[in-house]
Symmetry: C2
Subunit: 592 residues, 2 copies
Amino acid sequence: MTSYAAPIDDMQFILHDMLDAPSSDIPGYGDLDRDFTAAIIGEAGKLGSEVLHPLNAVGDREGCRLENGTVRTPTGFADAFDALRDGGWTGLDCDPAFGGQGLPYLLQSAVGEVFVSSNMAFNMYAGLTHGAYSAIHTHGSDDQKATYLPHLVSARWTGTMNLTEPHCGTDLGLMRTRAEPAGDGSYVITGQKIFISAGDHDLTENIIHLVLARIPDGPAGIKGISLFIVPKYLPDADGLPGAANAVSVGKIEEKMGIHGNATCVMNYDGATGFLLGGEHKGMRAMFTMMNEARISVGLQGYAQAELAYQNARDYARERLQGRDVTGARAPDLPADPLIVHPDIRRNLMDQKAFVEGARALVFWAAHLIDRSARSGDGEADGLVSLLTPVIKGVLSDRGFDSTVAAQQVFGGHGYVTETGMSQFVRDARITMIYEGANGVQALDLVGRKLAQDGGRHMMAFFDEIKTFIAENKADAALNADFLEPLKAASKDLQAAAMYFMQEGVKNPHAALAGSYDFMHLFGHVCLGYMWARMARAAGTARAAGTATDAFCDTKLTTGRHYMTRQIPATRLHLARITAGPDHVMALDDDAF
Amino acid sequence: MTSYAAPIDDMQFILHDMLDAPSSDIPGYGDLDRDFTAAIIGEAGKLGSEVLHPLNAVGDREGCRLENGTVRTPTGFADAFDALRDGGWTGLDCDPAFGGQGLPYLLQSAVGEVFVSSNMAFNMYAGLTHGAYSAIHTHGSDDQKATYLPHLVSARWTGTMNLTEPHCGTDLGLMRTRAEPAGDGSYVITGQKIFISAGDHDLTENIIHLVLARIPDGPAGIKGISLFIVPKYLPDADGLPGAANAVSVGKIEEKMGIHGNATCVMNYDGATGFLLGGEHKGMRAMFTMMNEARISVGLQGYAQAELAYQNARDYARERLQGRDVTGARAPDLPADPLIVHPDIRRNLMDQKAFVEGARALVFWAAHLIDRSARSGDGEADGLVSLLTPVIKGVLSDRGFDSTVAAQQVFGGHGYVTETGMSQFVRDARITMIYEGANGVQALDLVGRKLAQDGGRHMMAFFDEIKTFIAENKADAALNADFLEPLKAASKDLQAAAMYFMQEGVKNPHAALAGSYDFMHLFGHVCLGYMWARMARAAGTARAAGTATDAFCDTKLTTGRHYMTRQIPATRLHLARITAGPDHVMALDDDAF
């Protein structure tokens, strides 16, 4: 019932007209000319629309089954995974030394959006594999790299992340899984992990679990945690899957959505593990995966909203119900299409303005990540570090809201399974939770990132916006419609940061009671900045003829919608923040 | 896994300290003394907590099955329905002439909240029966009343509402179901209805369908629609279920939630129907049910949020994770409970402040309905008519958001089925859709109710708030914390109404593009007014000793949280409204 088409034009606009990627001095960016990126995204879109998306509802309906200890994925998933692998999609931005194509992460992000929109649960199998690749690539020994990376790049093997235990999620210091030295350099891993996405499946011949565990007699709490490579099948002398390791699936969780991806309880019963990145350095290594995963979850948030938007828009054009209040628009039909009604349009414009702004934000962040990784730019790294919790928290929260809004366009038909809209909502809901629930993102932002390196990255963000405004304010229309509202929003963000600096020192609760609002305030400024940049890019694209007038007009209208209807929310967030912690903290626990 | 306890203290506070119900001159209110209402709510709470709530997850898991043309409800539902019936709960506020207890609708609302929180899907069987009772009681002939009402009051029979058809939901003018005169005063009903809640089941010996249909040669569109009583089994000479009528269940819809209630496709294949309320007067009669249903859906919205809040609060007290940033609160435990963290408290306070304000609003509306129905007060009727779309739209939207926020407290454990939180979210989602999707509520509010009777009811609402502020502003603390923010919010609402009056005349799109924001702005003013009234009531209750100091302190803190963190949203809604329709209406349909 549902459909999906890759938003190639919008992606091309961001890559070229807004970011001007091929002109960048970042190594590898020179390859990203318009024709090349269009071809790649177009091919990804074909695979997404024709192969992956038709399996989205199948995955939801069938879910995964545990049969004789092995997870069986839904009908068609194995063939689709072969298609993904055979198309070379899994190693797009990976190191050519291990079989990757070495393309920028920016392009990987565009392709990633297409696959996530097409089938989020399916894409998680490859997505987590990429995380495992990155952790081993960054922290592994040469032997480990040689053993694992080629198979992860080619997706002949997949990867997982094992952090959570029944009694500890966010607070990893409580972790109990043990890793005892086996005497031969390996470790014996014992414990139970839960909520392991893609923990088992029948798509590949091997699965590489990255497992956090505690080596005995190490430091207490989070400082005593190490990361281990625990293969489902231990590589033999030829590097092929050999003896089965002592790792098994306890059960598949029943959950609200993403049924196509097996969320497993994993039991490690004396499994063989190999230390990755040094004793007690587990958190550092895990954060390599985690930061990448957090950006990816932000991407999931808006990618699911894009899918939902496309289907809501199509339904609003087709479904006949009621008449335009100013007179029939389709007098020869029994009623006008839903899209004539102002509140339906308001809803669709809200979705569209969010999704396009979010896409620009994630592509910009990917651009910064490339600048950091490929050009060694520490400032870019610091800025991405600051933006990561905002991207994860805000894009997943608002992506969910946007998906719910898309479902609403269908009325009662959105609530029944048949139209597929309820799956989108159920799937989108997880993005607010995993890889650190959004409250934890807000805590990370306010408690850590804001003041990191003496607050330098926050200042750099403000400077970037100030510079952009200064450089463009001569354009009167741009200034009035985009720069002025951006400036006002940015001032609200500065006032909030100032409040935290002044009050948070005296009382940390003052900052943390406002952390969630600060994250969303920050998100609005980011999206407002993206809209200002897109508005400017629409002008240059129109002049250069790289986008049609219709495209540029639509882009400007959508941006103005954001600037008039969404970004004024910064004032509300600031009011909540400066309301302080008194009422939030006042009640005794038992008065709730 | 989940639990529920009726919030008796808070209900008693609203009924007595805020509304002072027993002192009212409304007939029947004299009976509502503190002990009596406490006893009734307490008994309802017992049935809810012990019998209905344990079946909530059962209903979700098992759903309903269609067996040989009959819907089978989940295990335990039939016994629970017997308990509901035998306890006399179904006729609480019904006419004693037909076996009801004649108690005020206000008390029915309190009891209704308890049952909805306990098990929303289950309660819909009785809830829709009440709607059918009201329609027949208001519009039926003496014979019809005598035939149907005693059985609906006793819930030996249940009722349904049949409006929607596959091609028409909101736009009932498109309706195709036909009603041909049979010659004997009855009609022959032919057509298909969809989304019929409680359309069939095995709880009672008969089901009375109220069906909208079109009598041939009547006026086109909505003016040619009539309402019919279509019993599943035609009453025989003794008024007992006789011959089976030509009505059957086409299928049960698979849907996102409320699985315990059968949402049916109903086929009427020449079924016998009896005209209710005059030819072509169907919409008027249906609106008797509809208005009642809309208030009930608003109640469902916050009642589900109450259930979710209770479980989130309990989890936040029990789950150990992390430490209070200002120092360990439970140093002898491995970690502090979640509830020490400011953002968890912020989240719980948001939920609590919404739910308690919403409860006060629905009880106040019930009070106005009693005043209208029992004292013939036309002003009260007009005010309720104005408030109905606000109560339906705002309390369901924010009830859903609040339920999602409660789920969030559980982190990953909220996403798995086991904890029950995801069911609450899936169930709550329907309230934004049925009985008129919330966009339609906003349209009803702005397009119809706002200017009804020359805008008199809107003016009366503003006057009521102005008077309340004037009468209480001498109380400096109340004035600063509650009356001033209420006044500011009320001014925003007036400014929005003024904008619609000025711009809407020139361009109806100007009003309708802002309708959704207006509805929510209005909702904030309603809830702010309720909090101001509750704050004053906390003062009088403390003085009179009718509530504990601890209760009053908590009430005031919760209210201040609302006034500082939530009600400032009125400014944002006003900004969106006055941004006008330009960007909302600008795009061509194919530019979306």
